[in-house]
């Protein structure tokens, strides 16, 4: 019989969970530092969510506008996140992103070019200058393929020297991790199953990098795939790490709204970056009515000025369609609620009257293809209909900015599963660059941690046995269908903890989640262990429910509106809340605890990059007095 003794077992220095941009970059780094590295992922190699990213990777290379530099990028990122960001992460990100993009080019990436042969950069919401390195609207594909091919290149090197492609870096594809294992306080390994066979697998490793992406599958309308069940968030919590900023969820303003089966699928922001405009059923470019005070002097006040900006950015302000995503999503939501929506319940996004058909096909080929094939709409001839969709979670594992280390020794996190970098709202294009910058840092952090270990932590047999029993349990039960439980969770989160949050509704959601926990413990999966999606979902439900509880609890506590968290009863930002993070943790996974924590103060040289007037919109009087002190000295 299979038991903890005869479970398939592998020893590594570093195990990276996730093969998206963050995971691959982390694994490449760990291997380059001489560590034996495993990459584990739920899908096939090269299919992670990163593949779907469209618009580009933000990096202040200054190829299109030489005035761009890391300081401008840093400021834009902090503004986009409404100053809640971990400033150290925002700083490292802005400084290192160009090197990370150039490195991809040296590994074979072929970005679109400027006239003088450099990497071209495009405009995106919230970025002051054209800043996104891109390949048409399939940048994520280019990035993941390049990293995948870099892994292969390293394997070829290892084959040359050791006669074995997998001597130092191996991919475990279609393999899902269900538990992290510890020896005392420190990480000792990870436990999971092969999707293909249903057999269990054990990784014995002192360092684990989580790079598992997001949580969107807790919502009905989402741009995210089945993989986004918050596994990494839950694994970290259950291992004793903290999550921060879980109340901040980015609803991307433009998801498809029709046909119903593709509702939520993303329409890239590049459509607007390249000139597309939003209109309501009255034909009005309504975004002009929704420019918030903090951004008033940065956005055009007339259509003419906004249109001129595309060709002359020095003398005009950008059109309000390019406001940060949270603003645009709320505006669309408000227009639809006011009865000025499109026939299919969204608003109109039109690029057909703005660019020649050939240009649209060239700049937005995959959008053209997507609408043609899925909705029978030719975007070169007619407007699209779009509405908000759950897209990205700003919250995640609390980590050390420089090394990606979580509170648990041996545990690291990077990419969407980590928290802090984006504050309350992420700018488009800042994720792909985040993956590269912090993927590399977490890989290096894990390698250094392994070097510094006096003794290798041991995997405890009883923990393996417990993980095995937990994973196999749904197969033995004749309980409820996991798909039904999942659907109820999705509806609940979508309806009660969505874009606009009312305390009564969020509290109701928490009650539902409480009941769902009991049902999750009883779900049953029919069929065998071989590639059984019902069983896999039954296992994922534990994670989705736990993470949903974090989102709802934090949303109920934060009594203000900021970025990806909008409270109906507290419509404004509150400087006191800006200083506070909400930290989620759990003991044993049965209940989530949320505590307030004061943000560290921004370094003097960084805060001095901002104008006093701007800071005064975000900071408390006390913080402003401090700032005046710095300015004087």
């Amino acid at each position: 019989m299979e038991n903890s003794i005869n479970t398939e077992r592998h020893e590594y220095d570093v195990v990276v969970i996730g093969a998206g941009g963050a995971g691959l970059r982390a694994a490449i780094e760990a291997r380059q530092q001489g560590k034996r590295t495993a990459i584990v992922c739920k899908s096939l190699f090269g299919k992670a969510h990163t593949v779907m990213a469209e618009g580009g990777a933000a990096a202040a290379m200054g190829n299109v506008n030489p005035d761009d530099n890391w300081m401008v990028h840093f400021r834009d990122t902090m503004r986009g996140g409404k100053f809640l960001n971990n400033w150290r992460m925002a700083e490292l990100h802005a400084k290192e992103a160009p090197d990370r993009v150039w490195e991809l080019e040296a590994w074979g990436a072929l970005f679109d070019r400027t006239k003088d042969g450099k990497i071209s950069q495009r405009n995106f919401g919230g970025h002051e200058y054209p800043r996104l390195a891109h390949v048409g609207d399939r940048t994520g594909l280019e990035m993941i393929r390049t990293l995948q091919q870099r892994v292969v290149a390293l394997q070829q090197e290892d084959y040359e020297t050791h006669g074995d492609y997998e001597a130092y870096i191996k991919v475990f594809a279609e393999c899902t991790v269900t538990r992290l294992l510890k020896d005392g306080d420190a990480i000792s390994g990870a436990f999971g199953y092969w999707r293909e066979t249903g057999n269990f697998i054990l990784f014995d490793a002192p360092a684990i990098v989580l790079a598992t992406g997001g949580i969107g599958k807790s919502y009905v309308v989402t741009s995210n795939s089945w993989e986004y069940t918050g596994d990494g968030h839950a694994l970290a919590l259950l291992a004793g790490a903290n999550l921060i900023n879980m109340e901040f969820i980015q609803f991307h303003p433009t998801g498809m709204v029709w046909p119903p089966s593709v509702r939520g699928i993303l329409v890239t922001e590049s459509v607007r970056g390249d000139g597309g405009v939003l209109r309501n059923s009255e034909g009005k470019r309504f975004m002009f009515d929704y420019v918030p005070d903090v951004f008033k002097d940065k956005y055009a006040t007339s259509e003419e000025e906004g249109d001129r900006w595309y060709t002359d950015q020095a003398n005009n302000r950008r059109p309000p369609e390019l406001l940060p995503r949270d603003e645009v999503a709320r505006a669309i939501n408000a227009e639809v609620k006011a009865g000025r929506g499109s026939p299919q319940g969204g608003v109109f996004l039109d690029v057909s009257t703005r660019l020649p058909a050939e240009e649209i096909k060239k700049r937005l080929p995959s959008m053209h293809h997507q609408f043609k094939e899925l909705a029978d709409v030719d975007i070169t001839a007619e407007p699209m209909q779009v509405g908000p969709t759950c897209h990205y979670i700003m919250g995640g594992v609390e980590v050390d900015a420089d090394t990606g280390a979580a509170a648990v020794p041996g545990l690291f996190a990077a990419g969407e599963v980590s928290g802090g970098m984006h504050g309350s709202n992420r700018l488009g294009g800042n994720s792909l660059s985040d993956l590269l910058v912090f993927g590399r840092r977490a890989g290096a952090g894990a390698a250094a941690y392994v070097d510094g270990l006096a003794a290798r932590p041991k995997v405890a047999d009883d923990a393996v046995e417990a993980a095995r029993e937990e994973a196999i349990a749904p197969l033995g039960r004749s309980g409820e269908n996991p798909y039904e439980v999942h659907h109820e969770l999705q509806r609940t989160m979508n309806d009660l903890v969505g874009i606009i949050r009312k305390p009564g509704e969020v509290a109701e959601a928490l009650q539902v989640v409480e009941k769902l926990k009991e049902r999750v413990a009883l779900v049953g999966a029919a069929g065998s262990r071989v590639y059984n999606p019902g069983w896999h979902l039954a296992i994922d439900l534990r994670n989705m429910v736990l993470v949903s509880e974090c989102v709802a609890r934090a949303a109920l506590l934060r009594e203000e509106s900021r970025g990806g968290h909008t409270r109906d009863d507290f419509p404004g930002m509150n400087p006191e809340w800006r200083r506070k993070l909400l930290v989620c943790s759990t003991e044993g996974g049965s209940a989530v605890r949320v505590e307030e924590k004061i943000q560290p103060r921004m370094r003097d040289d960084l805060i001095s990059l901002f104008e006093r007037e701007e800071l005064s919109k975000y900071l408390t009087d006390e913080e402003m007095t401090e700032f005046d002190g710095i300015a004087k000295s």
Binding site: G108, D112, P259, E373, V530
Partner: protein
């Protein structure tokens, strides 16, 4: 708007299987993958299928629909008659793991056999300068989402297991062409394409191009030009050198 459609879906594991009949609801705007998901949620919870993006971007949901390789997520139900029985089977060229899921490791193995991008040793990151026109050819091939349907349809290996060791399939022959046309790649690609990856097996039937969901002109733009150059080189190695020198126009 909704109706009941008849489906035959291949089910089985461990080398055995059969077509199973289903009657299932179809709503407006749905694609074949939606119907497979409905079957999972209502009638066959353990029905195995791969997918991720549901938007034709990840290349996971390759299957054969009425015998033709298609992406399940991009095949709209409205392309079929309501009374038509739709047959869904796994890709034929690769061993079945379960139901619609096949073992595609052949492709990853072939990918590993193609030597990686090899830039000149003296160009540092940030120093690459390439004209848009010069990268466009390789960019076309980099649109590939690795659905492996071209390798699945290619007759060289579709029913010929014995050719698999010697033939990398259109996907990876195209990868070699992509590197060959990269303005900064200095490795010799053409000879290995012929000698080690089986370019000679391809008799330009264009079936691969026809199934490519990204509409990449695999045969015309990758395979044929490479064949031509291989032939040229056999007569005159200087042609190869010349090609390399003129590739970079910047």
């Amino acid at each position: 708007m909704s109706y009941k459609a008849k489906f035959k879906v291949w089910r089985g594991e461990g080398g055995e299987g059969r077509l199973e009949d289903f009657t299932v609801e179809v709503n407006e705007g749905e694609v074949v993958l939606d119907i497979i998901h409905r079957l999972q949620a209502t009638q066959a919870p353990d029905l195995a299928v791969r997918w991720n993006c549901k938007a034709g971007k990840c290349g996971s949901c390759s299957m054969e629909i009425n015998g033709k390789p298609r992406l399940g997520c991009m095949t709209r139900m409205s392309t079929f008659e309501e009374d038509e029985t739709i047959t869904v089977t796994p890709m034929r060229t690769f061993p079945v793991i379960k139901d619609l899921v096949t073992d595609v490791s052949y492709n990853y193995q072939k990918a590993r056999e193609v030597p990686s991008f090899t830039p000149p040793a003296d160009v540092r990151p940030g120093e690459f300068r390439m004209k848009q026109v010069d990268v466009e050819r390789s960019q076309e091939f980099r649109k590939c989402i690795e659905c492996f349907m071209c390798n699945n349809i290619c007759h060289v290996i579709r029913d010929h297991e014995e050719n698999k060791p010697a033939f990398s399939g259109p996907r990876f022959l195209m990868r070699i062409a992509e590197l060959d046309m990269h303005p900064y790649d200095v490795a010799d690609r053409q000879e290995t394409a012929q000698e080690e990856h089986g370019l000679g097996y391809c008799n330009i039937t264009k079936c691969c191009t026809e199934v490519c969901p990204e509409h990449i002109k695999i045969t015309d733009n990758a395979l044929i030009p490479m064949k031509e150059r291989v032939v040229d080189r056999k007569y005159d190695p200087l042609v190869w050198l010349g090609n390399k020198i003129f590739k970079r126009t910047s």
